[in-house]
């Protein structure tokens, strides 16, 4: 059983976003989700530096460096898009106007605590940016990440060892092995990668997993079937 590729994980997240939802994709891997959004979905992407209805990267040579995303890469604007200042942009974020924010993470705890900012150990400068505002303000916070660290240690833990971005905010976790919902009772499994087992997943997860009656199956291409 091979874990989902980065592309397949992005597709899996994209296929779950609500139609016509207002969505912010965090920098890094989450930005990649945009490549797999069906055009029929009507999802409108928000970028915290002041853009609503973000379109794809422009063709080479047509970049406008006054039109960039939160990762400071050139973007385009879709029809019906708009520009606004940072204060209004963060009002959208903090004020609960975004339906979903998809963020990367170092660790997520059983109760939805999120650790995803670079604290700047080893003398390098820290950076927080706007992830913390998203984590507090969006209606749903989805995390997408590898299920474990590169050396196989769990990222889904009882309590985060890293400095927190926000407490009790994550609602859903998409990994390269599973989809988990953060519930009042704990982490509930929603879907599991084809070929993986519940016991095997629990082995790679520090926090205990709840298994509901119906578990969906994740295919290698990132689609999910009942």
């Amino acid at each position: 059983m091979k874990p989902l590729s980065r592309d397949a994980l992005a597709r899996m997240v994209a296929l779950h976003l609500p139609d016509e939802g207002f969505v912010n994709l965090g920098i890094g891997a989450p930005t990649h989700v945009a490549d797999y959004l069906p055009s029929s979905s009507g999802v409108m992407l928000h970028s915290e530096n002041g853009v609503l209805n973000v379109g794809p990267k422009p063709p080479e040579g047509e970049e406008d460096w006054d039109l960039i995303n939160a990762g400071k890469m050139p973007i385009s604007l879709k029809r019906g898009g708009s520009y606004f200042d940072s204060s209004l942009s963060f009002a959208m974020m903090r004020g609960g106007h975004l339906d979903v924010a998809v963020l990367g993470a170092f660790q997520v705890s059983r109760n939805g605590d999120l650790a995803n900012w670079t604290t700047g150990d080893n003398g390098s400068p820290p950076g927080i940016g706007g992830a913390i505002d998203l984590a507090v303000g969006a209606k749903s916070i989805w995390v997408m990440m590898d299920h474990t660290t590169k050396d196989g240690r769990p990222r889904i833990v009882e309590r985060c060892g890293y400095s927190l971005t926000a407490r009790k905010v994550v609602t859903r976790i998409f990994t390269n092995l599973a989809i988990l919902d953060v519930t009042e009772n704990g982490l509930a499994m929603d879907a599991l990668l084809e070929g993986a087992t519940v016991a095997g997943l629990q082995n790679l997860t520090e926090a205990p997993l709840l298994t509901p009656g119906k578990l969906r199956t994740i295919k290698q291409d990132g689609t999910v079937v009942p």
């Binding site: 915290e48 002041g50 039109l67 960039i68 204060s87 963060f90 927080i128 507090v136």
Partner: protein, 219 residues
């Protein structure tokens, strides 16, 4: 009639002094007034406190100020990929106040709007609450965040008229429109200066009441 147009970047930074607090607009390169960067260096000031989103990441931005060692402290949200800053930071020669991006702009907004601060849920239960006053309201915990103002605000606009009305280009508006409200002296670098009456009043984002100096970049 009022006319705030000045000759160049050098005139736009006139009277900046050692120890001043300086706001610099921009998110990455968008909205960054690049002409001001070199003019401040040429002015020979030191010990600046800088308020900006980033801490420079290329060879024509705030990196030049850190390279020249003229910044005492920076208040920003994302000083990553900032080599010159990182060197000073590691050497302990520059102070960093790290602020969440939304909190940063809202503190500036509060400063420009004459408010004593605001109650934010962002950072509650994290290190970003350390040393700040906690206030409970409507059954929820908040952090008291204090306003930010500056001696000088330097931002980048698209068009200006000679009165000082400003429009912006796309996502280059970012922090600039809010920073324009919170400086004692506000200088705006623009692409073009047009006649009064040419700007559609519906498109003016920063009304001239906030603006003291306007210039176009000549170098």
């Amino acid at each position: 009639m009022r006319n705030v147009v000045v000759r160049d970047a050098e005139a736009a930074v006139k009277d900046i002094k050692d120890g001043h607090t300086v706001m610099v607009g921009g998110f990455g390169g968008a909205g960054l007034p690049k002409g001001v960067i070199t003019a401040v260096l040429d002015a020979g000031v030191r010990e600046l406190v800088v308020i900006s989103n980033n801490a420079g990441s290329s060879d024509d931005d705030l990196s030049l100020w850190f390279g020249a060692g003229i910044v005492r402290k920076i208040i920003c949200s994302y000083p990553r990929n900032a080599q010159q800053f990182a060197e000073q930071y590691r050497a302990g020669t520059v102070e960093l106040e790290l602020v969440p991006q939304g909190t940063l702009v809202e503190r500036i907004r509060a400063g420009g709007a004459g408010l004593g601060g605001f109650l934010s849920p962002v950072g509650v239960g994290t290190v970003f609450a350390d040393g700040k006053e906690k206030i409970a309201a409507q059954g929820r915990e908040f952090i008291l965040e204090l306003p930010l103002r500056a001696d000088f605000t330097f931002i980048k606009g698209n068009l200006a008229d000679s009165l000082g009305n400003i429009t912006y280009n796309k996502s280059a508006r970012n922090h600039c429109a809010v920073m324009a409200t919170a400086g004692d002296t506000v200088a705006v670098e623009v692409d073009r200066i047009v006649d009064v009456g040419e700007l559609d009043p519906e498109n003016i984002v920063t009304p001239c009441i906030f603006v003291d100096r306007v210039f176009t970049r000549s170098r």
